[in-house]
């Protein structure tokens, strides 16, 4: 049997992950290697240049661009307060006087004698970069950021929207095949990572927003509801910057699909514990999947363990798999046979297949490309 590579999503009770935390521009790193950090703790800080306001002085004063220099009260590099006079003319008749006031507090960045334009820049803003996960710093990249390592439980989703957030895991349903209804979303779920079952409707999405949940982890969603939530049709799966009020992670796909039992059991076991989640997804080469990280324990400073890189072998008999294409989309079973000969499927294509046995003892022949390994011990 040929070595067969099968893509899979990790659902594991124990692993070690490293996350690279990088500032968007050079700044100060606030942590040291070996230091224990919290998810909501700043690990680095940078000063972002303030917003730029262009102001055409020549137009406002009714003079040529090359003349504005003589009307300026403030020069390039000067600080300026909101409503402070930037420039004024000196007419013979006083009531013809024109004053140009600054619309913002900041600095006069530049004055152009060509366009008659003055650029004002607001004071820099401080950006704090959080740790994202509870863990320890294993590497510091001077001026740029740090690498946080954590021992954790890890669930990878198939698709998500929204950025990083954190909260306590809270179950809203009792079984993985139960759909999440608006009624199940209660006020106490504010700021929590709410775990649903097979599906969430548009009503429940609206309710989740009202309640103010931090995140939603769910089996499936209808594409039309996603489109309504985003306000546009997603063409290419590159997400992570959406701002819909919460982070949404799908564990199975589009439609009403029961969450894999293993995923639901793992999340149930960690109800009440804090988790860090990210909806960022990039489905293309160099893939990024959404994730739920539940830190298990913090090692003492100085006991930095090596990261175990999961070694994935080909698919084997007995492996737990999820069927990822109709007509059995979403069903989970166990590999019972791996015939190497090509077999004809209903489309008349001849493909490599595998036999999958389900919990009820029934079996189905599925193209090998239409299954996904449920990975992790």
């Amino acid at each position: 049997m040929a070595h067969s590579y099968t893509p899979g999503l990790t659902v594991t009770e124990h692993t070690t992950v490293r996350r690279r935390r990088m500032l968007s521009l050079p700044g100060t790193v606030l942590v040291a290697a070996g230091e224990v950090v919290r998810a909501n703790q700043a690990v680095a800080r940078a000063e972002l240049p303030g917003k730029v306001y262009p102001l055409n002085l020549a137009n406002q004063l009714g003079v040529g661009p090359d003349e504005i220099q003589e009307y300026l009260i403030k020069k390039a590099g000067d600080r300026v307060q909101k409503d402070e006079i930037l420039a004024e003319n000196k007419p013979l008749i006083k009531w013809l006087k024109t004053e140009v006031r600054s619309p913002v507090t900041g600095v006069v960045e530049s004055v152009s004698m060509v366009t008659g334009q003055v650029l004002l820049r607001e004071p820099p803003r401080v950006l704090e970069l959080l740790g994202y996960v509870d863990g320890r710093i294993v590497e510091v990249i001077p001026q740029q950021g740090a690498v946080v390592e954590t021992d954790c439980s890890l669930v990878q989703g198939i698709f998500g929207i929204g950025g990083e957030t954190r909260g306590e895991i809270m179950l809203a349903v009792t079984s993985p095949d139960e759909a999440l209804t608006p009624r199940q979303l209660t006020a106490e779920m504010k700021g929590k990572i709410v775990v649903g079952g097979s599906f969430i409707s548009s009503d429940a999405l609206t309710r989740a927003k009202e309640v103010g949940v931090a995140g939603l982890v769910i089996g499936g969603i209808h594409d039309k509801d996603l489109r309504a939530l985003l306000g546009y049709d997603l063409g290419v799966a590159i997400t992570g910057t959406e701002q819909v009020g919460f982070t949404l992670i799908l564990t199975e796909g589009f439609g009403a699909i029961p969450m894999a039992g293993k995923t639901f059991t793992l999340l149930s076991a960690h109800a009440g514990q804090p988790a860090s989640i990210s909806g960022a997804t990039q489905i293309r080469a160099g893939v990024i999947r959404p994730e739920i990280i539940i830190p298990t324990q913090l090692s003492a400073v100085g006991t930095l363990s090596a990261v175990a890189v999961p070694q994935r072998e080909g698919i084997r008999i007995g492996d737990q798999v999820r069927i990822i294409r109709d007509p059995l989309f979403g069903k989970i079973g166990e590999v019972s046979s791996l015939p190497s000969e090509l077999q004809k499927i209903p489309t008349e294509s001849e493909v490599r297949v595998m036999e999958v046995r389900f919990a009820d003892g029934s079996k189905a022949v599925i193209p090998r490309t239409n299954i996904e390994l449920i990975e992790g011990a």
Binding site: P7, P49, K51, H222, D223, G235, A285, G286, R325, S349
Partner: protein, 607 residues
């Protein structure tokens, strides 16, 4: 036969293994010298392994080759190494060669100063070069500088196109944007081993400052301003640079590419370049006007040779897996649904398309799923040809001008070179066309998408090996030609499609077909008909068509045409459904029409 590389004579070339690393699958073929000729003997495929944890394209290559090993009984691999040259009749290969498009689609971010001026010009340039524009940043787009910076960083674009300012105008805003990009320190998606390509096509006076700010941090390429003066748009130089960088730079950054280069006995070719070599060779050898298409998972590449002029476009946002949802977004649901011969609710269809997007390596398992993919493929093919037509213009190499009065019109100027009536041959390649369970499915997908006019021959790449043969032709012309003629090119047949429209059942044309054995088939084509006349690949027949008064077959309305037509594995397709092709707007009538046509040509198995 020997190959000579860098002056050194190597071994005879009798057994060749070639792979194409696509965005979704890695396809391997084995070519062996049988007697005096080269033949393709075995093939294997495996998912392309650029995803974590492998992040190494060679893993998929080894898996695909392992499949060949299993099927052929030849030992090719020794651990992670390919055994070269052959040690005996059943061990090793003489050379390993490969093409790659595993980088997937081209995702670009463009910047301008004024959003609806230079921002839009930059977008047009990028779109024209086949990119997906993931964001347009402009000085006046209302976002705070840090938001722009964060956006550049989080989007991880494959390439940035910077524009802004007219030549000789103010440089400040362009320089400011360069500073934001510099501050973002954009990371390419495949790690830190190469610098992000950045094309600067703005105010030429700002070039020194841009070079100073970004020269070290990015792989900066300076080119002519896309908006040298307000009234003129000059997109060609920027587009060409984007094309070059995409083919030569971005696409080759798939993880493990360096290892792949070491494994290969000849330079790795970008897939579109390799397919282009083949297409151009066919057209030149047979003096044809040709359209070729390679529809992949992330991109659809269209090639054309008209009057000897070769053109190529990459529609990076049209494909059958990674980009499938984008086909839906661009074509619209109604355009996809019009090809589906059954009733399916919108929600189910949308969910299925999104599920394919998030799990791009899956294949249709049921007939209705296959029909949906074929419907989407028709639209992807159609849109990619529209894109190609807009770029393959008579003004190739000449700057395209857009006057101030055209600023608000988004139409492309310049007459397209693509004349469907002068088209001799359509060549299809890519998974959905090469692996269609029935060849007639590939033929009708291309006929529906391209609506060929008059008499047009169609062919398909048998098992998707044009990329492999394109690269092979660079090292061994005979081997490539042998395999191309005998194993690769499958002539489907010829489509005869009168131009004109009429009511269903009205007379469209009368025809007389004279077969090589002297047999004569006379008949009448009615509007709304689709017929298949068997004619084997090695046979030629003569067809005389007398169109109705308002119908044209190339000679003019109502004028008779006699042509020699070549057969194929499908045969002669007589398509009097009308040109332009119009489908009934009523749902039930449309499904009935589709069923009638599909059954008439035996498109799908019937229950």
């Amino acid at each position: 036969m020997t190959i000579q590389e860098s002056g050194k004579i190597t071994h005879p070339l009798n057994v060749i293994v070639a792979t194409d690393c696509g965005s979704t699958t890695t396809k391997a073929i084995l070519i062996e010298k049988v007697g005096d000729e080269y033949r393709q003997t075995y093939r294997g495929e495996a998912p392309t392994t650029v995803e974590a944890p492998f992040e190494d394209v060679t893993r998929g290559v080894l898996n695909a080759i392992a499949e060949i090993e299993e099927l052929s009984g030849r030992k090719i691999l020794d651990g992670d190494k390919i055994i070269t040259p052959c040690r005996d009749a059943k061990t090793g290969v003489d050379i390993y060669i490969s093409t790659s498009s595993a980088g997937g689609g081209l995702q670009m971010m463009v910047t301008g100063v004024v959003q609806n001026m230079t921002g839009e010009s930059a977008q047009r340039a990028a779109l024209g070069a086949g990119a997906i524009v993931i964001d347009v940043l402009a000085s006046n787009d209302g976002r705070l500088p840090h938001e722009k910076i964060e956006r550049i960083r989080t989007m991880r674009p494959d390439m940035i196109l910077m524009s802004g300012g007219t030549d000789g105008g103010a440089v400040t805003h362009v320089v400011e944007m360069a500073e934001y990009i510099s501050a973002a320190e954009p990371r390419p998606r495949f790690g830190a081993t190469y610098k992000l390509p950045l094309v600067y096509a703005g105010n030429k006076d700002a070039q020194p400052q841009v070079k100073k700010i970004l020269g070290e941090k990015t792989a900066l390429v300076l080119t002519d301003n896309i908006r040298p003066v307000l009234e003129r748009e000059n997109l060609a130089p920027a587009r060409n640079k984007i094309h070059d960088l995409f083919l030569e730079h971005v696409m080759q950054q798939a993880p493990g590419y360096k290892k792949l280069i070491e494994m290969a006995g000849a330079p790795i070719m970008p897939t579109p370049a390799a397919v282009g070599v083949i297409m151009e060779t066919i057209a030149k050898r047979e003096h044809l006007n040709l359209i070729g298409v390679d529809i992949g998972g992330a991109t659809t590449d269209v090639f054309s040779v008209f009057e000897g002029l070769f053109n190529r476009t990459v529609s990076a946002n049209l494909g059958m897996s990674y980009s499938i949802s984008n086909v839906l977004a661009e074509a619209g649901l109604a355009n996809i649904m019009r090809w589906v011969p059954f009733t399916i609710d919108e929600q189910t269809l949308r969910n299925r398309i999104k599920n394919k997007m998030v799990r791009p390596t899956t294949i249709p398992q049921t007939l209705d799923e296959l029909q949906i993919e074929h419907a989407i493929a028709r639209e992807a093919l159609r849109l990619a040809l529209i894109h190609h037509k807009s770029l393959a213009t008579a003004l190739k190499g000449i700057q395209q001008e857009r006057t101030i009065s055209d600023v608000f019109e988004q139409q492309q100027s310049g007459k397209t070179l693509i004349d469907m009536l002068k088209l001799d041959l359509i060549v299809g390649s890519g998974g959905i066309l090469s692996h269609a369970p029935r060849r007639v499915q590939s033929m009708l997908m291309m006929v529906d998408a391209y609506e060929p006019l008059g008499v047009t021959r169609l062919s398909v790449d048998s098992i998707f090996m044009m990329p492999h043969l394109g690269v092979l032709s660079t090292i061994n012309e005979k081997a490539a030609t042998d395999v191309f003629v005998r194993d690769c090119m499958v002539y489907l047949g010829t489509c005869v499609a009168p131009i004109g429209q009429g009511k269903d059942g009205e007379r469209c044309a009368d025809y007389v077909i004279t077969f090589p054995d002297g047999r004569v088939d006379k008949g009448q084509l009615l509007f709304g008909d689709l017929r298949l006349v068997p004619l084997a690949g090695d046979q030629k027949a003569s067809i005389t068509i007398q169109p109705a008064k308002q119908v044209n077959l190339g000679a003019g309305a109502g004028l008779s045409v006699t042509r020699e037509v070549q057969g194929g594995v499908v045969g002669l397709m007589l398509d009097s459904r009308g040109r332009p092709l119009q489908l009934p707007s009523d749902h039930n009538a449309r499904v009935a029409a589709l069923m009638k046509w599909y059954n008439a040509v035996g498109l799908y198995p019937t229950a």
